[in-house]
């Protein structure tokens, strides 16, 4: 008696509807639906969205009850000047471009391996990884020159907590991409089996989206 999970379905892994199925590209289960590890990663991303919601909630609350914002520090015009992120968004904009670019290269890697293009996968993952590391180094440099610390009032606290935890998530992503790169070099991925690449790339896109929200909130709004 065959157990249920070995029954193979043929043909359409989606839902039998003619319209375009946005998840059609994601690796599929023999029984239909998104494969378990990728679904798990997507749900994990949902939970991480909620983690950042708490941090953003704190930021908006603090900002709404502080006037002016950025704060004006009595007796310290230099610090007040440093708080004015709006005046100098260009460095952060540069970081944003790097991260967005890395999302593109990551997606190219995914498209590559879906076609079975292992070389493309390796190349694009490598570029993504490098861009990710550049982002982290850039963030560290920014911290060292930005002119205020975590303990400098609520502005410092919220800024460093938000960007710091985002950075930690980028770091996690960098580790994930390193593992993917290693496994790609070892030839462990094919067009039919590359769940880990899909999962890592979904996580990387999430990290990018959070940064865009962060950048907009901290530097533009």
């Amino acid at each position: 008696m065959t157990s249920p999970s070995t029954v193979l379905t043929t043909g359409d892994p989606g839902h039998g509807v003619a319209e375009h199925n946005p998840v059609a590209g994601l690796a599929h289960d023999t029984r239909g639906g998104i494969s378990n590890p990728i679904l798990g990663m997507l749900l994990f991303i949902c939970s991480e969205v909620m983690f950042f919601s708490g941090l953003f909630a704190a930021y908006f609350n603090v900002r709404a009850t502080s006037s002016p914002w950025p704060p004006v520090v009595a007796n310290d015009p230099v610090l007040t000047e440093h708080f004015n992120l709006h005046a100098e968004p260009f460095y952060a904009l540069g970081l944003t471009i790097i991260l967005v670019l890395s999302s593109f290269t990551c997606q190219f890697a995914v498209w590559g391996i879906r076609r079975g293009d292992r070389t493309g996968l390796i190349r694009n993952i490598s570029v993504t990884l490098v861009l990710g590391i550049v982002f982290l180094l850039g963030q560290a440099y920014d911290y060292s020159t930005i002119g205020f610390g975590l303990a400098d009032g609520t502005f410092g606290t919220t800024f460093y907590t938000l960007t710091g935890f985002h950075g930690a998530h980028v770091f996690g992503g960098v580790i994930m991409l390193s593992v993917i790169l290693y496994r790609s070099l070892a030839g462990q991925f094919s067009a039919q089996h590359h769940d880990a690449v899909e999962a890592a790339s979904l996580y990387w896109h999430f990290v990018d989206v959070v940064w865009i929200a962060l950048f907009s909130t901290l530097y533009i709004l």
């Binding site: 379905t9 989606g14 839902h15 039998g16 509807v17 199925n21 946005p22 998840v23 289960d29 029984r31 239909g32 639906g33 998104i34 990728i38 679904l39 997507l42 749900l43 991303i45 949902c46 939970s47 969205v49 909620m50 950042f52 919601s53 708490g54 953003f56 909630a57 704190a58 908006f60 609350n61 900002r63 709404a64």
Partner: protein, 64 residues
């Protein structure tokens, strides 16, 4: 397909929270109650997260 099975409709689940967040924020302002930015943010983001979750769960489920 039954409406409850269509992935796009799953997003409405999340949208409900965004609507609640909007009502929460607007009514608090209008009624001169305490405007809670933290709660509004968390509810709105919950809506986005739940929409994503509901979508992937329904779209990711096998055909029965």
């Amino acid at each position: 397909m039954h409406p409850l099975r269509h992935p796009r409709n799953a997003i409405f689940v999340g949208l409900v929270f965004v609507i609640v967040a909007t009502i929460y924020f607007v009514l608090a302002n209008v009624g001169h109650y305490h405007v809670d930015y933290a709660g509004t943010t968390m509810l709105a983001v919950l809506g986005i997260g739940t929409a994503l979750m509901a979508y992937v769960l329904i779209a990711g489920s096998p055909n029965e």
